[in-house]
């Protein structure tokens, strides 16, 4: 029985197929916790990175280097009084953050962390993703309307107009990537997220570099549109604090407000994962075609472990540089423990990679594979996350009408042109 369970768990069938509901459930749980943890990490990282961009330290008090700050924030938000304005539409006010949250988390059902590491492999994956992620605007509009107040209303109108107009350019850019998937022997493309990454695998090229610069232009358009789509700086008009105090969530506080925050960051990760899957080769490691072969595979499979060891090294450096004062003892111990945990994870991952190379153990090799896939996918997303922070530190905010004119007069024609040219080139080459 154990054997049958093992074989069941170890099955590498495409996710979502019959008989794999257990794995799907496990993935749902993993992704839910994983994304929540990622949002918390992102919260800390954003505050720290932004602080260092701006010649200040950021959170330093709660935990060593403010590592526990997100937890303190979360506790504060959960314990805060839950205020619903008396003039608000109570039901809509209550349900709006949930819709936003639901929309951004549902997207993850089709995010392909690996060839078999996904909750489901819908054959209309990308459509599902775009459709569900644009539902997020519903939550924002509902929040703005239900608050029954001027600033939230203006914020909600701004963000709905913005999201709708940028979705067009975004969709056209996506279509040009999908066109590229059909450039194979059979001439059939795919809308499945896993299928799109596999098409890049077969064509030995990330779609970013396909028909250079066509793929790159489509990618840049998508990268801009996704910032607008998630209402992040420099397109954060919906919550422009200098104009609209806090935009659509002005009237929200405590838990409900934190749900909006969670939804926003989850949506950022979700759209980044679309970009990664469509243009950056999804779970593929860099140079998988040029530097192929077992030896190179092994070298790249060391990266996850090395990353954690590198983080551990930074933490150890921080531990050593802690002031030698009794007041800092607990912090020093905490940071040291954190470093120990990180290096433990790093060593474990290295062990798996080395073990998979050395022995013939199937399960080990399979898990090393899965680790690599997830690692590269997450690392690519992390780059986008860093870019989000970087944008925020660098740029002023666009004005509403300028944003719209950029969307309709620049992005839309370019993405349309790229689509047409891609189609023509595809016909000639393919």
């Amino acid at each position: 029985m154990l054997n049958s369970l093992m074989s069941y768990l170890g099955s590498s069938v495409t996710p979502g197929e019959a008989g794999n509901q257990l794995w799907a459930l496990i993935y749902v749980l993993i992704i839910f916790t994983g994304v929540s943890v990622a949002v918390i990490a992102m919260n800390w990282l954003e505050r720290k990175a932004l602080a260092h961009f701006q010649v200040r330290l950021g959170p330093m008090r709660v935990g060593p280097h403010g590592l526990l700050q997100p937890i303190a924030d979360a506790v504060k938000l959960l314990l805060k009084e839950d205020i619903i304005p008396s003039e608000a539409d109570k039901f809509v006010f209550w349900i709006a953050p949930l819709i936003g949250l639901l929309a951004s988390f549902t997207v993850y059902t089709v995010v392909p962390f690996g060839p078999s590491q996904a909750v489901s492999d819908m054959n209309i994956g990308i459509l599902f993703m775009l459709g569900v992620s644009s539902l997020g605007v519903l939550g924002i509009v509902m929040a703005g309307w239900a608050s029954n107040s001027h600033y939230p209303l203006i914020g909600a109108l701004r963000s709905s107009a913005q999201m709708v107009s940028y979705e067009v350019a975004m969709g056209l850019a996506v279509v040009s990537a999908i066109l590229m998937t059909s450039l194979n022997q059979t001439g059939t493309g795919t809308l499945s997220m896993i299928g799109i990454v596999q098409a890049q695998q077969e064509q030995h090229v990330w779609f970013l570099f396909k028909f250079f610069p066509l793929g790159a232009i489509a990618f840049v358009i998508f990268a801009i549109a996704m910032v607008a789509e998630t209402n992040r700086a420099p397109f954060d008009l919906a919550e422009a604090e200098s104009e609209l105090t806090a935009g659509f969530h002005t009237e929200y506080s405590g838990l409900r407000w934190s749900l909006f925050m969670l939804a926003e960051y989850a949506a950022m990760i979700a759209v980044s994962s679309i970009a990664v899957a469509l243009w950056l080769g999804g779970w593929m490691r860099p140079f998988s075609h040029w530097l192929s072969g077992g030896a190179w595979d092994f070298v790249f499979s060391l990266f996850p472990g090395l990353t954690f060891l590198g983080l551990a090294a930074i933490a150890i450096r921080g531990t050593i540089r802690m002031p030698k004062h009794s007041l800092f003892r607990i912090q020093t111990i905490g940071l040291g423990a954190f470093a120990a945990v990180l290096s433990g994870i790093g060593l474990l991952l290295l062990g798996i990679a080395v073990g998979a190379r050395a022995g013939d153990h199937v399960a080990l090799a399979r898990s090393a594979d899965a680790l690599n896939n997830v690692y590269w996918f997450v690392m690519k997303i992390a780059v986008f996350m860093y870019m989000f922070i970087w944008y925020r530190a660098t740029w002023p905010r666009y004005r509403f009408d300028q944003l719209m004119s950029v969307g309709w007069k620049v992005m839309l024609p370019i993405s349309l042109g790229v689509l047409i040219v891609t189609a023509i080139v595809g016909v000639i080459v393919g």
Partner: protein, 388 residues
């Protein structure tokens, strides 16, 4: 009794509005209340906006939330006692306020501050101008959505405040000058520190410009926004960088020199279009010109007394005087009427922020809500001075 009635009638009558009886969604025009508690109104300014969608049809400023009756206080204090009060008007340029007041009283007494005092005054006032412009730049950029310049400018402004603190013990409301000169001699190493500061801040100003001047979004947000023509600016009595950005080459330091500004070599930067971007450029250039003045002043600072012969009890002869200086925000004037006693009979402050703020309405009509905050920022108002 007071605040409520003000909200209800004062605010809305000028725009000829009726309180919408239907819910907001049904009305064609939206009236929103920006402030007095709002992140971008730089204090307790309240602007009532009449909007069509996001377009501004009209504005009305409601001010006075910070009114402390400075002019009435002056009538109940001696000339010396009133001196620290002026710091509390434009609190980011307290040194300039003090200079204007002290010089006005000196003029009334018919005394002249000694040369060394004048040099110290010029150095501190110009440092203060830079500090004020830095604060303006940081908050203005923050209003437009660029977070980072705020921290850069505050980092560098700190160095100026350190010099102030070392000189007179206070960082913000300095009370640095006295009627007749300065109370404190410069501390050891003052000249060196000022020189170091000049060398330190020059590349920093380039750094701010690098972030903003050619930034595409910054250009789009500031060019042709809040335009005011030279004629309008003069008719509205707008002064300072706002006037100069409209192309009027007028600076009291050159036109009617006070202290010893006539001894220094500097230029008056002007703009062409009178838009927000020009005002930004003018202020950036002014910071550099201030550095030039400081450099020259530190080089040439003479030895000598720092206090003129002023009677212990200041009792100017009956008469009246108007004296104004070029504060960082514009013409800061003091009109003092003396009746021969130790207290001013009447003291009127001509506040640059108050007068400049009046131009807000014509500058923002037809623009969008986002531009209103940009224009409030570019006017560089300090509510302590608007309301006094």
């Amino acid at each position: 009794m007071t605040a409520e009635t003000k909200n209800a009638t004062n605010a809305l009558s000028n725009l000829d509005l009726e309180t919408p009886e239907k819910p907001y969604l049904d009305s064609n025009e939206l009236i929103i209340n920006m402030g007095p508690q709002h992140p971008a109104t730089h204090g307790v300014l309240r602007v009532i906006l009449k909007l069509d969608g996001e377009k501004v049809l009209g504005t009305e400023c409601v001010i006075g939330y910070l009114h402390r009756g400075v002019e009435k206080i002056a009538e109940n204090r001696t000339y010396t006692m009133f001196n620290p009060y002026v710091d509390r008007m434009d609190y980011v340029a307290a040194v300039s306020n003090g200079l204007g007041y002290c010089q006005a009283v000196e003029k009334l007494l018919n005394v002249e501050a000694p040369p060394r005092a004048n040099y110290i005054r010029v150095i501190l006032t110009e440092l203060n101008r830079i500090a004020s412009h830095q604060l303006w730049l940081g908050t203005h950029a923050l209003d437009i959505g660029a977070m980072t310049p705020l921290f850069y400018t505050f980092r560098d402004r700190e160095e100026i405040l350190k010099i102030f603190e070392k000189y007179c013990g206070a960082r913000l409301t300095t009370h640095a000058f006295r009627i007749g000169g300065c109370q404190y001699e410069t501390y050891a190493g003052f000249e060196r520190e000022v020189k170091e500061f000049v060398a330190f801040v020059k590349p920093k100003i380039d750094e701010y410009e690098e972030l903003l001047t050619t930034n595409r979004i910054w250009l789009e947000r500031t060019k042709n926004v809040g335009v005011i023509s030279a004629e309008d600016a003069i008719a509205l009595g707008v002064t300072g960088p706002v006037l100069r950005a409209s192309g009027v080459k007028w600076d009291i330091r050159k036109a009617l020199p006070y202290a010893n500004y006539s001894e220094f070599d500097f230029e008056i930067p002007i703009g062409e279009n009178g838009d927000t971007y020009d005002r930004y450029l003018v202020r950036m250039a002014e910071m550099r010109q201030s550095l030039r003045i400081i450099e020259q002043a530190v080089e040439r600072i003479p030895e000598g007394p720092i206090m003129a012969k002023v009677p212990k009890v200041i009792k100017p002869a009956a008469g009246e005087i108007y004296h104004s200086i070029e504060a960082p925000k514009g013409e800061l004037g003091y009109f003092i009427v003396s009746d021969g006693s130790t207290q001013p009979y009447r003291l009127r402050v001509r506040p640059p922020s108050f007068v400049n703020l009046q131009a807000l309405d014509i500058m923002v009509r037809g623009l969008l809500v986002a531009d209103v905050v940009a224009v409030i920022g570019t006017l560089d108002i300090v509510l302590g001075e608007v309301d006094r």
